[in-house]
Each structure stands twice: as C-alpha cells, then as structure tokens.
Amino acid sequence: MKRQLNDTLRRLPVWAVWMGGLIPLCLLVWDIFTGGLGVEPVRDVEHRLGRTALYFLIASLAVTPLVRIAGISLMKFRRALGLLCFTYAGLHLLSWVTMDMAFLWSQMVKDVLKRPYLLFGMSALLLLLPLAITSNNLSIRRMGGQAWRKLHKLVYIAAPLVALHWIWALKTFPVTPGFWLIVILTLLGLRVAIPRPLGRGKPKGGLKEVS
C-alpha cells in the first residue's frame, strides 16, 4: 500500500502539482470577474491569497514529518510547494500595496514599522525571499548541500511569524489562525521528536540525515 502510493507519487510529474497549486488563483480570478467576492472584494482578494500562501507553507513543512512517520515521500514536490507558497505570499503583498493601501508609501512604511502584525508578515516574507531565490539546483550546487539546508531552515522562523501575522491582525483571539499556529508548531516539533524515519535504527557510521 505504502509502496504503491510512493510509486504513484513518483510517476506524478512536478508540473501537475504546479497546475493544481494554481487552481486557487484561477478560482480567485474567476470570482473577481464574475462578482463572486461579496461587497468588499479587496479584503477577499487579499485574505484569500494570504490564506493560500499559508496552506502551501504548511504543506511544504508537512513533507518531512510525513516521510518520517508514514514513509510517504512527497520530497520531489517540496520545492514546488514552497515556491507556490512564495508566489501567493508575493501576490498577497502586491494586493495589499495596490488595492488595500493604494500606493500610500509613507503610510505603508510607517504602518509596517509600528504594527506588529505587519512587521510579522513582512519579516516572514523577507525570510522566505532567499529561500525562493535559491530554490534551484544551481544554487544547491553553488552553495553546497550543508549551507543550502542551513539557509532553508529560515522557514522554521517564518512559519510561526505568518500565523502570528494573521492572529495579530484580528480584534479578538481568532480560532482559525490559532489552529494553524498549533499545526505549524506541531510540524516543527515533530522534526525534533522524530529525527529520522520510524522503524529504522540509528544510521551506522554517523551517516547524515538528509531531509
């Protein structure tokens, strides 16, 4: 069963994940042009892009625990999931700059410096930026696997910041983003709790874990 699933996943091309990952964007564009967004479309566009970015971030964080616990490998798709997250995060920022803040640069700068939720969001995006830029084989070769992996651990800081960004933006303590923060912390915690695939002993000869 597990092998069958992994075989199927191996045959699934990465571009299929990209296609699937862009469906939420297509639905959003569809809703914009068909009036499916309710009376405050700016908020809907902005929030849907942000939420989708968070979901892809969580999906990319789930890859390692999934292979360690269940033995199901989505490793091949992790780069696509991460880049999809960054795409949606970038569009989320763009919608804030253009639609929500309407290019009021001075107010935006002041707001980002003064508002914890904007500071959290902006820091998370800045942390994810080098990850997105180095998400190619050339970068891994140039940097070396060790340094590249180290850099990509920035996502461990960025992910909780994203959840805090959402929580802090609301007036009362909100259930949904609170739930996603717990999911993120759990996924990060699992990396510490289960440092190698279940059912496999200590690797011999100090073999380095690659994940």
């Binding site: 914009i32 042009f33 309710g38 405050e40 639609m99 309407a102 007036k171």
Partner: protein
Amino acid sequence: MKLNWSDVTPKADWLNRRSFIAAGAAFAASPAAALTGKASPLSTDEKPNSFEEITNYNNFYEFGTGKEDPARYADAMTIDPWSIEIGGMVERPGSYGVEDLAPDNALEERIYRLRCVEAWSMVIPWIGVPLSSVLNKAGVQPSARFVSFETLMRPEEMRGQSYPILKWPYREGLRMDEAMHPLTILATGLYSDPMPKQNGAPIRLVVPWKYGFKSIKSIVRITLTDKQPFATWQDTAPSEYGFYANVNPEVDHPRWSQATERRIGSGLFGGRQETLKFNGYGEQVASLYAGMDLTKNY
C-alpha cells in the same frame, strides 16, 4: 467574451437592482409597511451605499466574527415581541415598545457616514428618531450623567453568544451630552425598510462621529446612571478601544493607522480616503470635547 478590470466596478449597479427587487419582494410579503422618514438637514449629501452592501458586511459578533455571519445567521433572532427596559435615573421607568419610542410620525431620514474602527467606511440612510426624544419621554433626572445600553442576550438564537468572544451581553455607553446631541439617533429602519436583523433590528443606536462599535444594536435596555458605564470593547482591550471612541485620524489604533479609510463599494482599485476628525462631524460635536485630551480620552 473579453473582460477588463473596468468590468468589475459596475457590479454595484446590478447589486442595487437586486436589492431593489429584494426590497420590493419583502415589501409585498410582509405586512410591515415601508418606512418613510422626513428629510433632515443633518444628512450628508454623499451617495449612500447600496442596501446589499449595508446588509452584507456587518460586525455583529453575536452572530459570529465574520463580516458575512450576521447576514447568514441573524434571521434566527426573534424581534417581535420586543420591549426596551428604560430604567435608572429616569422619571418614568418601565418597559417601552419600539412603536412608543419611535412612532411612525416622528421618523426622520438621517444619511450618515459610518466609520468602523477597522478603517473601512460606508454611507448609510438610516430611519429613526433622536435619542434625546426617547430619553425625554422617560424623563431624565438631573443627577443622570451617562446612558448605558445593552443588547439582547439570547444564545439559542444568537449563535456567537455561545462562545466567550466578548463579555455578553454587549454593552455600550454615552455621556449625557453625547446622548442628547441632535446627531445621535435610535434607528428603526434602513432605506425604506424596517431595520434588517443583521443591522440591529428592531432598534439600534447610531452615533456617527464615533467608531461603529459604539452604535450598539438590538437594544433591550437603556439605563441612566451617574457613573461612566461598562463598555464591552473597552473592557475587552482597554488599550485599543476607549470609552469615547471618537473617530480621530490623529490617534492611531495600536495595531493600525486611523489616518485613512477604505469606502466599501469603491471597487478593487478605489483607493483610500483621508479620515476626517469626528468622522467629518467636527463642526457639530467638537465643542463636546473642548479641553479634553483626546489622545488620553480616546
């Protein structure tokens, strides 16, 4: 068919048309006749938001924290029969009906700007009566200095009240001079409809120079006191929501700027507009706060 960004905006037109049809259907179906209010010089001449916008983008946490929740769930609230308990420092305490407090022949149309603390705004054509007329009916005792208001508490009909999001029932208050100000009204209608439930049926407060949360909905109790009353948002986060809650672009909310706002219905690229002090009603109300430090009394 080729669609452009410019095709997005005219949605307001079909929304208006839809709400017109909906309002017509509601009129035909219900025995409650349409409301008419006398025009008032206190109305703004800005173009009101559509009925659809006003009734589908609401903060009414009794029905959930989402903006669409009130429109989705408020129908479960029973508003007939309804009575308002007026008590405390009044000459004639007791239980009043909506019709006693806001009789048809006294109704006025008040087209007001509404500015939410979340930095969005609307223009709303309310139908109602000055709060002062209601308080005078009950007879204000000279010792009364504040008015306290309370929203209906009925968790079985108001699903949000099953969660401790806020300290239920929702309560708000005004200083006596604010309450007696001619701009302050109790509203029982919207456009020419009886007040929709998601907007605070059957009777709600409207204080246009203050952030929207001061304008408490679905009022069941009005109490006159000599002490500054409990206010739910002030109690929930005192550093963020003060008792006065006057619209003030110079005093930021701790988590966001209040300098500008987005007008609901302005479309995807409608931009932001500058927020006016006292929501633009400064000429009428600034004197109420003469000598007060509004950065402290926010």
